[in-house]
């Protein structure tokens, strides 16, 4: 058995790692998987960077930021496997949400209208709204900024973004320290279940196939351990297939419920797994398609174009310098080459390309693949804008033309 330690945070999207351990997928591949519970992204990062663990459940933008030297000690990281696609929700306190469209289903269905309503609600609120984000280098924060900007809201000026760990969001909302938060599940659902807030936007409606958590390694380690990686990634892919299967959702929720993992009741974990989201306390659940994907549509494949989208957002929000070297290094964090090598012969459909125009598909579309057929789901951004990874500069110019007033 090869021992591998992986740091994780108590979130629903750690599911693939937990299933790999608890359902024997890692063991079958000769891997003794040790999961190290961590309650901050900073500590997950430090454990990885300083070699206490071999891999970490990580916010995709954080993996890129560490590589670019933007988050404490710089280290080249490698992400050969995405742990999920989508899975975030924006929950706003009931008093703030009261100023939005009264129908929570319409808010989700029309993110552009919801963003404009949100902009209007800012002025009506008793203070500049304080919104909890889990990290500056999180996709949630990047999507929130993008969504607000559509309605002319500058997240750095018109609202206060406050960084809090996901597990403390609900308590902060209860204490009135924040007026809302965007975080991975189950925390949005917990806020709803406790009658504190309403889910007013879902990540899957802001970007239909949004990149989310990755499994990050140190680049030098991953190069030296090819044989182990080639056993680990297929085991994780099998675990991800298991997690996606609706027949397993109840059992998965029970695994995640354990105190060592997410430690919240299964009933609060099920909405994200099944896409049956309760948006407002006491109301029946609403189907949010593709709320979270673990494996289908090659969800684990690290498209280099997605790393570049993240880079474009870091530049857009003045967190990274726009230069060719940064652009290349960011794209290189997503190791589609390692994914291809490790999963060759697994029988899973393998994308033919490693880059694509993000946000170009309005309907399920068959794409070129090695080994079997691959259909990608719709991946539009809420504003209909597409991201061409060959022209990051042009994309940024287009975004800069949106006035922040």
């Amino acid at each position: 058995m090869t021992p591998i330690s992986i740091a994780f945070l108590p979130l629903t999207d750690s599911a693939v790692l937990i299933a790999a351990r608890e359902k024997g997928f890692a063991e079958e591949a000769g891997i003794a998987l040790d999961l190290v519970r961590t309650t901050s992204w900073a500590t997950a990062r430090d454990r990885l960077v300083y070699g206490q663990v071999q891999a970490a459940h990580m916010l995709a933008p954080l993996a890129i930021a560490v590589t670019l030297g933007l988050s404490q000690h710089p280290a080249a990281l490698a992400a050969p496997f995405k742990l999920n696609v989508n899975g975030n929700a924006l929950a706003m306190a009931s008093d703030f949400a009261a100023a939005l469209d009264p129908d929570p289903v319409r808010r989700l269905a029309d993110p552009i209208a919801a963003a404009h309503d949100f902009a209007g609600a800012i002025g009506l609120h008793r203070r500049k709204p304080v919104i909890g984000i889990v990290h500056r280098f999180s996709c949630h924060a990047l999507m929130l900024r993008y969504w607000l900007a559509t309605a002319g809201v500058d997240a750095d000026r018109d609202v206060t973004l406050r960084v809090l760990p996901p597990s403390l969001m609900v308590e902060a909302m209860r204490a009135g320290e924040i007026d809302g938060f965007i975080a991975g599940e189950p925390w949005g659902s917990v806020a709803v279940a406790e009658g504190l807030g309403e889910i007013v936007a879902a990540g899957s409606r802001i970007w239909q196939r949004g990149v989310e958590k990755v499994l990050a390694f140190r680049a030098d380690w991953i190069e030296a351990q090819a044989e182990t990686i080639d056993r680990l990634l297929p085991a994780l892919a099998r675990a991800a297939i298991w997690c996606d299967d609706p027949a397993n959702h109840a059992e998965l929720a029970e695994l995640l419920e354990r105190p060592f993992y997410v430690g919240r009741p299964a009933a609060e974990l099920m909405p994200a797994l099944t896409g049956q989201m309760v948006l407002r306390h006491g109301e029946p659940p609403v189907t949010v398609p593709d709320f979270m994907l673990f494996q289908r549509e090659a969800a684990n494949f690290p498209w280099r174009s997605q790393a570049l989208w993240i880079y474009s957002q870091l530049v857009r929000w003045n967190m990274a310098e726009a230069d060719e070297d940064n652009e290349r290094r960011a794209a290189d964090v997503f190791r589609s080459d390692i994914y291809r090598r490790a999963l060759a012969g697994s029988g899973l459909p393998m994308p033919g390309a490693s880059m694509k125009v993000e946000g170009a598909l309005s309907a399920p579309t068959a794409v070129g693949a090695h080994e079997g057929a691959l259909t990608l789901g719709p991946d539009r951004f809420f504003d209909g804008r597409a991201f061409d990874p060959q022209d990051v500069t042009g994309y940024l110019k287009g975004l800069a033309a949106i006035p922040l007033d």
């Binding site: 309650t39 901050s40 900073a42 300083y50 000690h73 760990p165 403390l168």
Partner: protein
């Protein structure tokens, strides 16, 4: 904050020979005390303990510490790092596990559960003793907790064994040493711990309606 603070050289001049201000961000009152006492004994006297709740970041900002020590297991590390990233009050403090080249120290700090943030430009010789001390104190605290847990368990075990002995003494008319010998030999024969046998006996006795 004085303007010299923004450059490494200025900082060194300004701070030369002055006491370092140390903030301990910790949830556990006891661990913070253990660490604070250690630092005071070592001659540091500008020490502030800040629990990571509510507006702790604003408090830290006003305090402008030279060194921030924090439990690696605290969920509030991301909140603190965000402050370090945006704050203008602190002259760009940086995370450190002393020196990037000092792998032994980094490993020891992470093992002990210490994270440290140090104002940019502070010399390694001035910080290393503080981190050394924090590591020793965090380890001592962890051992103290483990000992305490062990003592609690031992006490609970003894109570269980006493109750089982009482049942045996009553139902089998044994004296205390004989009751204990019986428990021990049963445990040895079954390859179990005495306390497990005692627990089984208590459960069985209550199922059978026996009184203790």
């Amino acid at each position: 904050m004085s303007p010299e603070f923004s450059s490494t050289i200025g900082l060194a001049h300004w701070r030369l020979g002055e006491a370092l201000r140390i903030a301990i961000v910790d949830d556990s009152g006891l661990r913070a005390t253990v660490l604070e006492d250690g630092l005071r004994e070592a001659g540091y006297d500008d020490i502030h303990v800040v629990p990571p709740h509510g507006a702790f970041v604003a408090k830290l900002e006003r305090m402008a510490p030279d060194v921030v020590l924090m439990d690696l297991g605290s969920p509030s590390r991301d909140t603190l790092e965000e402050m370090l990233a945006v704050s203008r009050a602190l002259a760009r403090p940086i995370a450190m596990f002393v020196d990037q080249s000092d792998d032994m120290m980094i490993g020891a700090a992470i093992d002990a559960g210490v994270s440290a943030y140090v104002v940019d430009g502070l010399r390694k010789e001035r910080v290393k003793p503080i981190l050394d001390l924090a590591i020793r104190r965090f380890n001592a605290f962890a051992k103290m907790q483990a000992d305490l847990d062990e003592a609690r368990t031992a006490l609970a075990d003894r109570k269980t064994i006493d109750r089982a002995k009482a049942i045996l003494m009553k139902t089998r008319s044994l004296d205390e040493p004989a009751a204990y010998t019986l428990l021990r030999s049963t445990a040895m024969n079954q390859g179990r711990r005495i306390v497990d046998v005692a627990e089984a006996l208590i459960t069985a006795s209550s199922l059978l309606g026996g009184s203790e």
